[in-house]
Symmetry: D3
Subunit: 140 residues, 6 copies
């Protein structure tokens, strides 16, 4: 096994790429992540994604743009991200975006309200489908 | 077939309960929905759900509480609802809650940003799971 | 286009295989479906699946075994099938298995209770994941 | 960190609320759960949900109503709950509702049949969607 | 309503952006799509996405990169795309990527095999989760 | 507890069936799995599924047929399986089918491209649904 990348004989890399082991291209992206977030560390998602530098570059570029300045405020954007992550059951994403939401000001009450909405929406989504409810003309 | 409820010989009701045909209990709930929303009509979801008055009562009670006053503002609550509905692919819900969001002030730019976040989150959720990324200690 | 199978120049068949147009192998399976169900018609799912006779044979064999006699009664089996179909949002399946459930005795009240459980389970499933609830020792 | 609630500086509570630490309101709900189930302990789901007492109250009220007496027998209701939980991949829910189903009489054979139906339904749900099967007139 | 964009008083644009009505920026992206695909038309997905030019630009850029030349051949890439679309139940995507796969050489037999795998995987995915199967050491 | 099957007083078997403890019927299936794969061990999925020998027999028969020789090559079949497993978030399946794909020749680059497609498809699937994009006539 290649000690640096964890690449097995079958060709797949299953380990995170640490800053110290990263290529110049990957390091540049790590630097941009840290600069954008004003932090001094890289969370695991990026280090695992970096196994394929094309994916790392593209996804970071997308996230920076989508979660950057816009008409929706940063906390709202993060709440939406958490809501989707809960619905999809991504444990890592719930933890990382939950931490991000708290860092952006989410209080315990807001978290409780978010859970309430996500839970209820997952319920009514199924009921509407089960009952094959036709879309009201007024909603078109 | 029972004309009022649409109940077939097999016992299932597959039609909406119109106000004019509703029992006093169901009408009371319809009245509360209209009063709470300051409208004069009932959207299809409730009319189909009303086939089982217990479900209608319970779900309306839940929705009124969850989407009512809280620490999250009404538009943010609606955006979260739309985000979940898109993720679950509920066409009716996307239409009804989308209309609700627009009524609460969602602009075209905000809608575009919402779509961007929901799309990206659905992508990164799968990537995190695919790479079996361990939760960072800092997020616990 | 091949009139019998609907096969286009690109090689994909996108139309149902009617009994009159079916190969002897497919007809034999259609006959078994009708004999098992004591009906004289084939619902659309099988006619579309028949585009690939291997799939038709294998899936019908599986369904006959799984939905056949067992320790769970036929209606309970159908209720479970509907519950999964609602959760997955398969409109065709909700309709066909709903009809099957009604044919096996599902009443309007039972249908309402089924919806209530499916809706609530979809809600609590998300809440448990969102809160990263650890499995109680007593449940292992 | 607030020792009793686990609330961090960012405002989110990520720990379970034990009976001994619960407010009178939460304790009353815990008491009702134990009385309804004739047990002397609270499973983790409720203790984590209790971080937001509104959610605890509402969800327990819903569950008590939905899983209470009805036209579907208790075991059938639990089997439906397990089926949805498996489809959604909620590990906690599969464990807790599986334990509940066993307590209500689910045998090993019934469990195997349940798995068979859930697996097959998840398969045919996708096939019906992939083939864009139109709903038969007879099912409407 | 703004005739060109379909923008309603509430601010949301719900109609496709036709080439003739597109801004120079959007037209440039449409031109690139047609040039890349060697076609003379734009499918609906892009015309609806174009309501938010940022999303159109970013998603087209991603798709061009991801579905472009690589170590996986074009047909395999399309089959994977269809498999995911079926699993998520996106009717539009199944149709558009199915057409794309057929254009890249997918035969009727390959389509049948694809359906077989997608169906079976959706089944075994649930069974593995239901049985809480631990990952074998050999797979790590 | 029955030592051989792990069956608890409540009737559910929650442990894997080891070769040494297996009935002749189950052993025969284990032998066939090992012969088909040219291996000398059984992975956990089959050992847990074996709690219900009917399920083990049926699912192994299906998998052998579906993943056997066809017009799609073995690696492509495995890539599709992984893509679905990622989309459904089945951790066990991602690990086992990922190992299978590597054994069939998947390189690190191909793995990266697979992730890219699965991620992007999960994104565009939601966007198409959110925008309620109508299927183009040319795709029918």
């Amino acid at each position: 096994m290649n000690e640096r990348t964890g690449e097995t004989a079958t060709g797949a890399s299953l380990t995170p790429i640490e800053y110290a082991d990263a290529s110049p291209e990957v390091r540049a992206i790590y630097d941009d992540i840290m600069a954008s977030r004003n932090t001094d560390w890289i969370n695991n998602f990026w280090k695992y994604l970096a196994q394929d530098p094309h994916n790392l570059r593209r996804i970071w570029s997308d996230l920076k743009e989508v979660m950057g300045a816009g008409t929706l405020d940063p906390l709202t954007k993060e709440l939406i991200y958490v809501a989707v992550s809960i619905t999809n059951g991504c444990r890592y994403c719930i933890a990382s975006h939950g931490a991000s939401a708290r860092a952006k000001g989410m209080t315990a009450e807001q978290h409780g309200e978010l859970l309430a909405i996500v839970g209820l929406a997952n319920q009514t989504n199924r009921l509407a489908v089960a009952l094959d409810v036709p879309v009201d003309d007024r909603f078109r």
